[in-house]
Structure formats: structure tokens, C-alpha cells
């Protein structure tokens, strides 16, 4: 680890100014990923701007419905929040499916979105990786890639995004609030993370010095059916091989509202827009659900050793959606 400066910010403006005033600055919140990457030699910030104590640690209901989640709200607190558990169970379940109890106590909402891939080639500076060091190639493509992407990957990168929380946020249609030199802006979670293309070094659309200040959830009535299901190599404390987040509201026998996203399959949480379009307005029968899921996963381009992820994701999605549809899914 290289020597590093440290500044504790007391306001969003102060954080932005400190970031702008220090070469190689990085924001530090929980640090569960950043500190680890510093130890691995993947990250070498010049200065850490500590934003963990900014007054962004509250979850507030919005007047028009919905929730505003401050960027420094801890993952454990968000998962346990009564309003989240009542109206957004998919988010609570996704958070609880990630990491461990002690990590969730440290990790923040903003940091969770910005965590880097756990691709072992990315995490080892001795190996080639276009994401860590553009132009060095991808070690995973012809190497070990059982855990890697089956959707939306590029010749330069086949990494997956590791977050569970972000998958739930994508299915819910949440937005990210950012503060930068040019003021504030919002970006839908589904567009916040990028596909790798020719620039896998850019995980997200966040600009230099921009700071996540909040995540906003759209209105959801208490009891809106939603769920998260994750398949992994261990029963607990492992990243997803594949996961599904879904919101499904059925009225008068047809799907009135639907949001579906996959985790563990792509460089970003994969919003399943084709599957959503196929289900919206349709009867949520097992057959229709299967057809909708296939419409999405037919686009998959598995690699040599990860084709198993496609049927795994298909079965997860069918099961989650069938469960949410309840009796309407039965023939």
C-alpha cells in the first residue's frame, strides 16, 4: 500500500472541494472494498476523502410516495428499516443476501453501488486485465471464467458486477442522486452501471469527483409483491452465480406492474426489459412466465465454462415470478 493523505469531510460541498483539491483523491465511506483493493495494490489513491460521517445517513419517506435513502446509510440498517421491509422486501432480501453481518454494518448504500468486480484477474496486479490496466488484455476470457458474464460482455471484459443490492434497485426502478462540480443530477440505477464495451475501466457513468448523495425508490404500496433469490456456491456469504430480483403486481388476472433484474450475469445489474415487456398486460401463467424469461435469456452468450448460468438464471426467474404471481400462475 502506498502512503496516502486523509481528509474528513463535514459537508457534501467540503467533500467535493477536497476531492478537487487533492490529486488522485478517492472518496472513502465504509471502505470494505476500497481498503481491500488498496491492500491488493489495485487502488492507490493519493488522498482519501472520508465521507462516512456526512449527514446522509437517513431513510426518509417522500411526500409523493417513495423513499429517499441517504448514501451513507449502512446496508444492515437499510435491510432492517421497517418501511423497506414492508414495501420493498426485494431490497431488504437482496441486502441480506450479500456479504456478512459485520460487513453489512460497515458498507454503505453509495459504496455498495460503486464496489468493483471480484474477478480474480482484476484483483491480481500480476495478471492482465483491461479493467484494471487498459490494453493489457483479459486473462479471464481464455482462463478461469466460470463465475463470469453471459450477457452483455465484450472482447475486452467479461467481468460481472458483484452487488446484490443494485439488482433489487434496478428491478424497483430506483434512481441515483449525484453531486458534482456542475451541481446535482439523477441517473436511473439501470443506466448507472455500464456495459464494458471498449472501456471496461469505467464501471459506471459517474463523473470525476462526483459523489453519490442518495438513492430514491419510487412509490410502492405496502404489500407490493417483490422478492430476491440468489444461487451461490455456499448457503451464505458468497457472491451470486446468478440472482433474480422481481416486482410483480397482478390485478384482474393480468400483470399490471413488473420489474425484473438479474445479478451475477453481466457487467451491470441486468434489467430484463424484454421479459418485462412480454409479461406486462399478460396473464401471469407458468407458460407466459417461461416464455418471457426465455425472451430475455435467449440473448445470452455463455463462455466455455459458464453455460450452466443460463438455465440456472432461467429457473431462478421462473420460480421467483411464479411465486410472486401466486394462484394466478397455476394453470
Amino acid at each position: 500500500m502506498r502512503p496516502v493523505g486523509y481528509v474528513r469531510a463535514r459537508s457534501v460541498e467540503e467533500a467535493a472541494a477536497a476531492h478537487a483539491g487533492h490529486p488522485g483523491a478517492r472518496y472513502l465511506a465504509g471502505g470494505t472494498n476500497l481498503v481491500d483493493l488498496m491492500k491488493l495494490g489495485v487502488e492507490s489513491p493519493g488522498t482519501l476523502v472520508d465521507v462516512s460521517r456526512l449527514p446522509l445517513d437517513t431513510v426518509e419517506p417522500l411526500p409523493g410516495g417513495g423513499l429517499r435513502i441517504g448514501a451513507t446509510v449502512r446496508n444492515s440498517d437499510l435491510a432492517a428499516h421497517p418501511l423497506v421491509r414492508a414495501s420493498y422486501p426485494v431490497l431488504s432480501q437482496a441486502l441480506l443476501a450479500g456479504a456478512s453481518g459485520q460487513l453489512r454494518n460497515i458498507a454503505t448504500t453509495g459504496g455498495n453501488l460503486l464496489q468493483r468486480t471480484r474477478c480474480p484477474y482484476f484483483q491480481d496486479p500480476a495478471k492482465p486485465c483491461n479493467k484494471r490496466e487498459p490494453g493489457t488484455g483479459c486473462g479471464a476470457r481464455e482462463g478461469g471464467h466460470r463465475d463470469h458474464a453471459v450477457l452483455g460482455h465484450s472482447p475486452s471484459c467479461i467481468a460481472t458486477h458483484p452487488s446484490d443490492m443494485a439488482v433489487a434497485l434496478a428491478a424497483l426502478g430506483a434512481t441515483v442522486e449525484l453531486h458534482g462540480a456542475d451541481g446535482a443530477r439523477t441517473v436511473p440505477v439501470g443506466q448507472f452501471h455500464r456495459l464494458p464495451g471498449d472501456h471496461p475501466e469505467r464501471d459506471t457513468v459517474i463523473g470525476p469527483g462526483e459523489l453519490i448523495t442518495a438513492v430514491v425508490l419510487p412509490e410502492a404500496p405496502a404489500g407490493l409483491p417483490s422478492a430476491y433469490r440468489k444461487a451461490r456456491d455456499r448457503a451464505s456469504y458468497a457472491f451470486a452465480l446468478a440472482s433474480v430480483a422481481a416486482v410483480l403486481e397482478v390485478a384482474d388476472g393480468v400483470v399490471r406492474q413488473v420489474g425484473i433484474a438479474f445479478g451475477g450475469l453481466a457487467h451491470r445489474p441486468w434489467r430484463a426489459e424484454r421479459a418485462e415487456a412480454a409479461l406486462l398486460g399478460a396473464a401471469p401463467t407458468g407458460e407466459n412466465i417461461a416464455r418471457a424469461v426465455d425472451a430475455e435469456l435467449d440473448r445470452a452468450e455463455p463462455l466455455r465454462d459458464n453455460a450452466f448460468k443460463v438455465p440456472l438464471a432461467r429457473n431462478l426467474a421462473r420460480r421467483v415470478l411464479t411465486g410472486l404471481a401466486g394462484p394466478a400462475a397455476r394453470p
Binding site: 500500500m1 493523505g5 471502505g31 493519493g46 432480501q93 451464505s236
Partner: protein, 196 residues
């Protein structure tokens, strides 16, 4: 104090920090790279918290920060200024009468260890687990709420700490000796005692 010349002016790479550990304040200069775990072990002589993987994967370094369990290997000491830290050395009665924490007693009664390397982390993690459960925090295996108007039920309370709940909630603490069955029993004993 070290300096680097990454910009037009030198960046200070060490700072004074006051760490409150087990009720005692310690003021020390730390290189900003110093983790809380290294500060505890190398600077304060508190070697209870263990360095296993040093990457947040094994839980041997678990301590309590403001009463919540956390991996001390991933926390920078400089960022902990003003927090209250409790290590395994601070769990027993502070009157110096050797009174063990109920979890420590339960670990002894159940023989919930073999080599003991993971035990300080298991104990601190279990203290945090019991507090989280008492506060009604759910886990991944807690049945989802039904969305009743009265708000979510709190099935994670002490009485709801089934073996499956304890296993899920302690999954961030590895035990390479495989003492898990006894660890679960020790935590279940303590939870049952607390609920009585």
C-alpha cells in the same frame, strides 16, 4: 510524519487519532494506511482480535464499533477517531473480578472451539448478533414480512434465534477447525438465557 509529493503541496500521510478502546482513550499518531486491527495489535498490545485473511473474508478480526460488529482489518484507524471500540479483551466484567461475558461462559461450557484462533472474532460477532436480533433485525433466512399495517413483525428477536438463524447470522466468521455445531449451541444457549 511522512510526506509524498503527489501534488503541488506535500500530502500529510499520518495523523493523530484518539481511539477509545474498552473504555480507555488512546491518543497516537498513525500512518493513514494503518488498519484498526493493526493499531489494536501492534500499537496498543491488544492481540485478541486476530489477523486471519486480512481481507474481510474470515471474521477473525471482528470487533465492536459503537456496539456493532465490524471487520477491523478493513477499517482505517484514522477514520475511527471518536468511536467506541470493544475488543474481546473488553467483553468480560470491567470490575476486574474475572466475571466472563455470558457468551464466553457458554463457549467454555459447550467447548465451542478447538485451536481458538477464530474465537475472539466469533465472540465479538455473536455479541453483535444478539444485539441485532434483539433490535428485530432480520436475516436472509428470516421469513419475509406480510406487510401488515402494524409494520413488520420482528421474528429475529432472541426467542426466534433458531440454529438456522444463528448459522446465517454468523456466516462471516469462519472456523477452520469446524467447531460450528458447538458454536451454534453456545450462541443458542446465551440467546435462550437472555430471553428468560
Amino acid at each position: 510524519m511522512q510526506h509524498t509529493a503527489t501534488g503541488t503541496e506535500p500530502v500529510t500521510t499520518a495523523s493523530g487519532v484518539t481511539l477509545r478502546v474498552n473504555g480507555t482513550a488512546h491518543t497516537l499518531d498513525v500512518d493513514h494506511r494503518t488498519t484498526l486491527l493493526d493499531a489494536l495489535r501492534e500499537r496498543l498490545g491488544l492481540t485478541g482480535a486476530k489477523k486471519g485473511c486480512d481481507h474481510g473474508q474470515c471474521g477473525a478480526c471482528t470487533v465492536l464499533v459503537d456496539g456493532r460488529r465490524a471487520n477491523s482489518c478493513l477499517l482505517l484507524a484514522v477514520a475511527q477517531d471518536g468511536t467506541e471500540i470493544t475488543t474481546v479483551e473488553g467483553l468480560a466484567g470491567d470490575a476486574g473480578d474475572g466475571e466472563l461475558h455470558p457468551l464466553q461462559r457458554a463457549f467454555l461450557d459447550r467447548d465451542a472451539f478447538q485451536c481458538g484462533y477464530c474465537t475472539p472474532g466469533q465472540l465479538c460477532s455473536a455479541v453483535g448478533l444478539l444485539a441485532e436480533a434483539a433490535a428485530g433485525h432480520p436475516s436472509y433466512v428470516t421469513p419475509p414480512d406480510t406487510g401488515s399495517p402494524d409494520g413488520p413483525a420482528s421474528p429475529g428477536g432472541p426467542a426466534g434465534l433458531t440454529p438456522a438463524e444463528i448459522r446465517e447470522r454468523l456466516s462471516g466468521n469462519l472456523c477452520r477447525c469446524g467447531a460450528y455445531p458447538r458454536i451454534v449451541e453456545a450462541v443458542a444457549d446465551t440467546a435462550a438465557e437472555a430471553a428468560r
